[in-house]
């Protein structure tokens, strides 16, 4: 199923274009498999729970899943040579998400299908417009400014939902700016770091002033974003952005003292937040001992644990459990909901899908052609990994729970769009990387 298995073309010949039907055949099979499994799940939920209701959610979800096939066809037509597992893994996770959202909140299923369709449209547009990442060199500061403005706007006119996360309301739509800012910050960090890299990785004595001059804006934006997030109580996003920043800094510059300073700063910041903010204390205390207030603040996290425990190995079956006992079952607590109805088999499958997707994202970053591609790829891979871990581990009480969407799984439009754009960028990065690798292998000069 891998691309390397194909015989290399003879040296000195431009990479031949395969006939359409032979391109991305692994991806085709996997995307179709993900879609079929998703539709089976939706039909099962419909039959078990809403046999007398309209089929609209099932049809809408099936259409959304078919969208992945459309994206596949677009990639074939565009002769993308990039990774063939990224899209199917995203499709698989989206399918699980659609099935669970239909099961948990049938009234939201059609909307989630629409969000995924919108996200896939954004994916195609991004492939056409943003794929060549050289724009980052020019617009990196614009990214930072737009990102910060979005966060400031959220603080100023944002609406609070679910106690923590802030939303921007535009007409009848609510926008979760954090998801878009995530992409903007990756672009900004990548732009600044790619530029600063040659200087900062030179051998010889440290040049403190130059270092500060190069990294100063980075630090400034990072601290600014964190302050805004702490101000709006969004600890999950704060953790995500900070982790992203540290990972990209380390990857770009590779100095251990940066990482150490970053971790010390994180510990200090966390301690200060715990000391200053009651809501942080509540989160931590509830994590340490949810039993102390089992019917109150500990309720959500305990119900999550009970959901996982009641699921056991094979789960209660779709529609046969009680995940509705968990507040926010279709957003923050969707992973325990999967655990209850699909069991450890289900949660392990979901984690496996994530590992597949994230592994392939890192692979694209490792094989990327050039520092911007490499940094954006690694930044996206790290961001999505951290985000996934924070919410999966948080909703299962491995770490304190901070609300943040699980990529592709959780209900939400902003997340769908942002993650689909991330897939587009990763596919473009992977495409260039594979082409460059093929060129190098065949002895063609790098254009």
């Amino acid at each position: 199923m891998t691309i390397e298995a194909r015989p290399s073309p003879p040296a000195g010949v431009a990479i031949p274009s395969l006939p359409w039907i032979a391109r991305r055949s692994a991806e085709r099979g996997l995307v179709v498999a993900a879609g079929v499994l998703g539709i089976l799940g939706l039909v099962a939920v419909h039959a078990a729970m809403y046999p007398a209701e309209s089929w609209d959610p099932v049809v809408a979800s099936a259409v959304a899943l078919a969208g992945f096939v459309v994206v596949h066809i677009a990639l074939v037509v565009a002769d993308n040579r990039g990774d063939e597992v990224l899209l199917p893994a995203a499709a698989g996770l989206s399918a699980v998400g659609l099935v669970m959202i239909y099961r948990l909140r049938p009234d939201y299923a059609v909307r989630q299908a629409a969000w995924i369709s919108l996200g896939l449209t954004a994916l195609l547009i991004a492939l056409g417009t943003l794929a060549d990442l050289r724009w980052i060199r020019r617009y990196r500061y614009l990214c930072a400014v737009v990102g910060l403005v979005l966060l400031v706007l959220t603080v100023l006119v944002g609406v609070e939902r679910n106690g923590a996360r802030q939303w921007l309301v535009i007409g009848s739509f609510t926008l979760e700016p954090g998801e878009i800012v995530k992409l903007l910050l990756v672009a900004f960090f990548a732009g600044v770091l790619a530029e600063a890299r040659p200087l900062l990785t030179l051998p010889g004595p440290r040049r403190w002033r130059a270092e500060l001059g190069r990294l100063g804006p980075l630090l400034l934006v990072c601290v600014g974003a964190l302050l805004l997030l702490v101000f709006q109580r969004d600890l999950g996003l704060a953790m995500l952005y900070y982790g992203m920043f540290l990972a990209m800094l380390y990857i770009a510059i590779g100095r251990f003292d940066h990482v150490l300073a970053g971790l010390v700063a994180f510990a200090a910041g966390a301690a200060l937040c715990y000391h200053w903010f009651a809501h942080v204390r509540v989160r931590v205390d509830v994590w340490v001992n949810p039993w102390a207030d089992a019917a109150g603040r500990g309720y959500q996290i305990l119900q999550g644990l009970f959901a996982l425990a009641s699921g056991g190995v094979t789960g209660a079956g779709l529609g046969a459990g009680h995940p509705e006992l968990m507040p926010a079952s279709y957003t923050d607590m969707i992973f325990p909901a999967i655990g209850e109805e699909l069991g450890a088999v289900g949660t392990f499958m979901v984690v496996a899908l994530y590992l597949l997707f994230l592994g392939r994202a890192f692979r694209a970053a490792v094989r990327a052609d050039g520092p911007i591609d490499g940094l954006v790829g690694a930044g996206l891979a790290a961001a999505l990994s951290i985000q996934t871990f924070v919410i999966l581990a948080g909703s299962t009480r491995l770490i304190p729970l901070t609300g943040i969407p699980a990529p592709f799984l959780t209900y939400g439009g902003s997340a769908a769009v942002s993650n689909c754009i991330a897939v587009a960028l990763l596919l473009a990065i992977s495409d260039r990387g594979e082409r460059a690798a093929a060129d190098a292998r065949d002895g063609r000069p790098n254009p």
Binding site: A247, Y250, I251, A252, G254, W291, A294, L302, Q303, L305, F306, L308, A309, S310, G311, G312, V313, G317, G321, H322, L325, G339, G343, A344, T347, F348, V351, Y354, L355, L358, G359, F362, A365, V366, P371, G374, L375, A378, A381, A382, S385, I386, F389, L392, A393, T396, L398
Partner: protein, 471 residues
């Protein structure tokens, strides 16, 4: 940059590895215990869907079944409310207690592990919980409750060979059907009918504790049954006078006679010769001072720590007074251990979990054992206890044709009249029944508790013979 990207990927992969290991723990390893938490509302929701399993005695007499479906399902108790302190209640408002609570998952048939049953459930058949079979014998339990009558107290009857509990009575009792209706009365009643005295009541043991002191004395080699002691009317211990019950005095007697006549002043000397450390060690060996592992919640009682025991403390402990506290279950185990040749069987009351079609899912013949004292020592103690019933303070426990071994206790306490104790096993040569009886503020053990023990033994012994005759 490539190497560092890989490092970051490795670090994050390790985090996901931790997540997977943790998920395996929560969902698979800790799962069943966590899901059984009373804080988990899923159980109550499931309970409305499932036809609750029955609770049966060892002859499969139905002690609890249920009628109705869904929210109108109610427990029925064909044998009456005599078993309530063991079975517990099942209330939608006040939760579960007793076996209902401990075996809730089994009674609800959760988790549904059998694919065939899962399929039948999908096909719309109302799911049926498992039956729980107890070691209790309905006839013995009824006899125990009847023997206590209107008195406050408890009786624990067990099979010393297995540890299986034949009866466990706690009076006053309650009607488990009336929990919702009479909660305010029941929960505020000063006689504490909801309190399971048999396992959680903590009382001074009085002279029944002399069995433990004699164990320590004989076991340490510092005392022999034939040694001479004096039994004056009172004895001076560090300036405090300790009196015999009803000012009895027997002059110079043997240790055996002191035990048979239950002479306090003689036992003060036996305790002094044995030493506090040995007495406490023997008490601990019998499991006193610590909660007995059992299917229902148990209390541990109290053993004073050695440094707190002065000369007076040791003297009071020698006849079972002072700060000592024991539960009826613990004292029944003392008798059972002596009767069983020095080996204590871990007590249990659930012997089987059966599927609705009668298939046995889980079965226990016993739950483990522990040698407490050497067999020769157990033999000596048995002889002493036989004498108590034949010609000592426990003659009221005599049964025609059966040798009963026992020890009386009359425990002073701050709540008024003395508690009447009797611990016993029978037939003394090959015991099939061991028991402990306590009547709170009942008076003298030999007069009040021993006759009750006789009534219970009169039912329990034939019941054991009948049970032993079955395959």
């Amino acid at each position: 940059m490539v190497g560092r990207t890989r490092n970051v990927a490795r670090l994050l992969a390790a985090l996901f590895g931790v997540l997977l290991a943790y998920l395996a723990c929560v969902q698979v390893i800790w799962g069943p215990q966590l899901a059984a938490s009373p804080q988990n509302p899923r159980l109550a929701l499931e309970a409305e869907r499932i036809h609750w399993g029955r609770i049966l005695d060892r002859r499969l007499t139905v002690l609890a079944d249920s009628a109705g479906t869904g929210p109108s399902q109610v427990r029925r108790y064909p044998q009456g409310p005599d078993f309530a302190n063991v079975l517990g209640y099942r209330s939608r408002r006040y939760g579960l207690t007793g076996i209902e609570r401990r075996y809730d998952l089994a009674l609800l048939g959760l988790p549904l592990t059998d694919p065939w049953e899962a399929l039948q459930e999908v096909l719309g058949r109302a799911p049926q919980g498992n039956d729980v079979v107890l070691t209790l014998d309905a006839a013995v339990q009824a006899a125990a409750v009847r023997a206590l009558g209107g008195a406050r107290g408890a009786i624990v009857v067990l099979d010393p060979r297995t540890g299986g509990v034949l009866a466990m009575a706690s009076r006053p009792g309650f009607d488990p059907r009336a929990i919702d209706a009479q909660w305010a009365t029941l929960s505020h009643d000063p006689a504490s009918p909801l309190f399971n005295r048999a396992t959680q009541g903590q009382y001074p043991p009085g002279s029944s504790f002399k069995t433990v002191v004699l164990t320590a004395g004989l076991g340490s080699g510092r005392v022999r049954l034939t040694d001479a002691v004096t039994c004056p009317e009172s004895i001076d211990v560090a300036g405090a006078l300790i009196h015999n019950f009803e000012h009895e005095q027997f002059g110079q007697i043997s240790v055996l006679q002191a035990f048979v006549a239950s002479c306090n002043t003689a036992f003060v000397q036996i305790g002094q010769r044995t030493g506090a450390a040995s007495v406490l060690a023997a008490a601990r060996a019998y499991g006193l001072g610590q909660a007995v592992p059992y299917d229902l919640p148990t209390a541990g009682g109290y053993l004073p720590p050695l440094p707190d025991l002065g000369v007076r403390g040791l003297a009071q402990m020698s006849f079972g007074q002072g700060s000592l506290l024991v539960t009826p279950l613990q004292m029944a185990l003392v008798a059972a251990t002596v009767g069983n040749g020095g080996v204590m069987m871990r007590p249990f009351v659930v012997s089987q979990v059966r599927a609705p079609d009668g298939r046995i899912r889980e079965a226990f013949a016993q739950r483990g054992s522990r040698r407490v004292i050497p067999a020769t020592l157990a033999l000596q103690l048995r002889q002493a206890m036989i004498q108590v019933v034949q010609r000592g303070t426990g003659t009221a426990a005599q049964l025609p044709g059966v040798t009963v071994a026992g020890k009386t206790g009359t425990a002073e306490n701050p709540h008024g009249r003395t508690h009447a104790w009797f611990i016993a096993f029978a037939p003394a040569e090959r015991p099939t029944v061991a028991l402990a009886v306590i009547v709170e503020n009942g008076g003298v053990g030999g007069d009040v508790a021993a006759p009750i023990a006789r009534q219970v033994l009169a039912v329990a012994l034939p019941a054991q013979t009948a049970a032993g005759a079955r395959p």
